[in-house]
């Protein structure tokens, strides 16, 4: 049988998927053991135990100075910024995306601006945001919005433009006004694409969140990583990176699952990652 037709079974797929993880882990363990055999003080590749201990300390021991459980304080702060940023970006994507997608006038008015705006490298806006909005939460949320909204708006607008022309015509032959057509035909079919746009936007959102926190923050996952970097505390940095990755993964899966639950009709055909 051709290779393109050979499909792994359920268990086989899980085992195959586990191989790269196992290899990466093994490479790390070996590398770490080799370096520590040469120099027991080595900080670059700490042992799994050392990282476990450091992570447990961040999660379950109150900080000596502040009395906070740092991991949870950092996680809460970062997630709050992420949520605010994504909420605003999603709101913009709905309103501007729908205007561009549905109304020729809206397209003419907004599409060139969004296209131009999306070309601004978001990180170059960060100093401006800090100057205008101060070093508080607003600037960090603002960076996430600037970094994600244009691409989410464009994805959502395109999904509306991709609706079959026949459907829009048919809705009109049923007597639908622009408002009715939007409410009953366009928006319902837009939601699954919005969820996709949010999943897509979360990737740059994390980058801009961590960048902003690295520069100006007093707590947050990105702040912590860049703080302990000064002490070469790889035993904290690596678990934090894995923790961020885990959160990102869970968020993505949750959104994918929510889309399947809420919009079953949109998932009736085709494979999706």
């Amino acid at each position: 049988m051709r290779l393109i037709n050979q499909r792994p079974g359920r268990v086989g797929a899980i085992l195959l998927g586990a191989i790269p993880f196992a290899l990466a882990l093994a490479a790390y363990v070996v590398g770490s053991a080799v370096r520590r055999a040469e120099n027991p003080q080595d900080k670059l590749l700490p042992s799994l135990e050392a990282m476990g201990t450091a992570f447990a300390r961040m999660a379950f021991e109150a900080d000596r100075r502040s009395g906070d459980y740092l991991l949870w304080v950092d996680t809460a702060a970062s997630l709050e910024r992420l949520a605010h940023g994504m909420l605003i970006a999603a709101g913009l994507a709905i309103v501007v995306g729908a205007l561009i997608g549905i109304l020729p006038v809206g397209r003419a008015l907004l599409s060139p601006f969004v296209s131009a705006f999306s070309l601004i490298p978001p990180i170059t806006v960060l100093p401006i945001l800090f100057i205008v909005l101060g070093l508080g939460e607003a600037a960090k949320v603002g960076l996430i919005v600037v970094g994600t909204a244009p691409l989410m708006i464009r994805a959502v607008a395109q999904s509306v433009l991709d609706l079959p022309r026949e459907e829009i015509i048919r809705a009109q032959t049923l007597g639908a006004s622009t408002m009715q057509l939007t409410a009953r035909v366009v928006l319902p079919q837009m939601w699954p694409h919005l969820v996709r746009a949010i999943r897509m936007g979360l990737v740059p959102a994390w980058i801009f969140l961590v960048s902003a926190e690295a520069i100006a923050a007093t707590e947050g996952l990105g702040y912590r990583i860049f703080l302990v970097r000064r002490y070469l505390a790889m035993d904290v940095i690596i678990p934090y990176v894995l923790w961020i990755t885990l959160i990102a993964y869970v968020l993505d899966r949750a959104l994918a699952l929510a889309s399947r639950r809420l919009f079953p009709w949109a998932h009736l055909s085709g494979d999706a990652l």
């Binding site: 032959t173 049923l174 079919q189």
Partner: protein, 268 residues
């Protein structure tokens, strides 16, 4: 059933010297025809000669480059409206609504305000009417399925049923049964003729099946180019070259091959 002579009262659908040009390629030119109310007009012609374009003009989806189209004496609205229903070859029912949802939508649009939503007793009434149509087109057993879960024939029946709910005066069909197998196509033809008889609407149906055109129509229009320049094959547009009155739907052509097929509802 025939075109109006000069001076006579205008027909229900009156097309005069219609011309359509895309860029500088004429697609249709000099198309004039008058169609009486209640006719079932079938339209045939070579691929690409402008049959779909003609329907798009009747629908109001596009403006003609020249000429006029009037319905019931008034120029057609320049955008689609509930007076003119349409069924495309490709299913165009709404994929995010179930069969019942699709059939309720016309009522929700008519009476549900800007958001097209009905509640309480009015919603129940709409649901009853939707269910009646669902019964009529033989989809009662598939009420809660989404279009993607229906066969091609079922999707077309749904499209037809939905298009009829606003009670259009004119129904436009663009190769509606082209993608269906012969058995299913016969059932759909029979259903269409039944619904046409019940409603008294005027039907324009484009088809590639000459037999279908002769069997179903009360009148057949043939689109073709009358002028042809071998050096410039696209120099001239098509027009109506034959306009033949027919007896109307042929009974035996519509009779299903076996009695088992008689019940449209159990066809799938």
């Amino acid at each position: 059933m025939t075109g109006t002579a000069a001076g006579a009262a205008p027909a229900f659908v009156e097309v005069k010297r219609l011309a359509v040009t895309y860029g500088d390629a004429p697609i249709l030119e000099g198309v004039s025809v008058g169609v009486a109310e209640g006719a079932l007009v079938t339209i045939v012609g070579a691929s690409g000669c402008g049959k779909s374009t003609f329907l798009r003009i009747l629908l109001g989806q596009e403006r003609p480059t020249g000429g006029t189209v009037a319905i019931d004496g008034a120029p057609i609205a320049p955008e689609p409206d509930p007076n003119r229903g349409i069924v495309f070859q490709k299913s165009s029912v709404f994929p995010h609504l179930t069969v019942r949802g699709n059939l309720m939508l016309p009522f929700e649009i008519a009476g549900g305000g800007p958001l097209a939503r009905l509640f309480g007793a009015r919603r129940r009434a709409a649901r009853q009417k939707a269910d009646a149509m669902m019964e009529r087109i033989g989809l009662a057993h598939a009420a809660d399925r989404y279009p993607a879960q229906l066969s091609g024939g079922m999707q077309q029946r749904l499209a037809l049923g939905q298009a009829l709910l606003p009670r259009p005066k004119i129904l436009l069909l663009d190769e509606p049964f082209g993608a269906l197998d012969p058995g299913t196509r016969r059932e759909m033809q029979a259903l269409l003729v039944e619904l046409w008889r019940e409603t008294g609407m005027t039907v324009f149906m484009v088809t590639h099946d000459i037999q279908e055109a002769f069997d179903l129509g009360t009148r057949i229009l043939v689109f073709d180019k009358i002028r042809h320049d071998p050096q410039h094959p696209h120099a001239y547009g098509a027009t109506i070259t034959y306009d033949i009155p027919l007896k109307g739907p042929v009974a035996e052509a519509l009779r299903p091959a076996t009695p088992a097929n008689l019940n449209v509802k159990d066809a799938f």
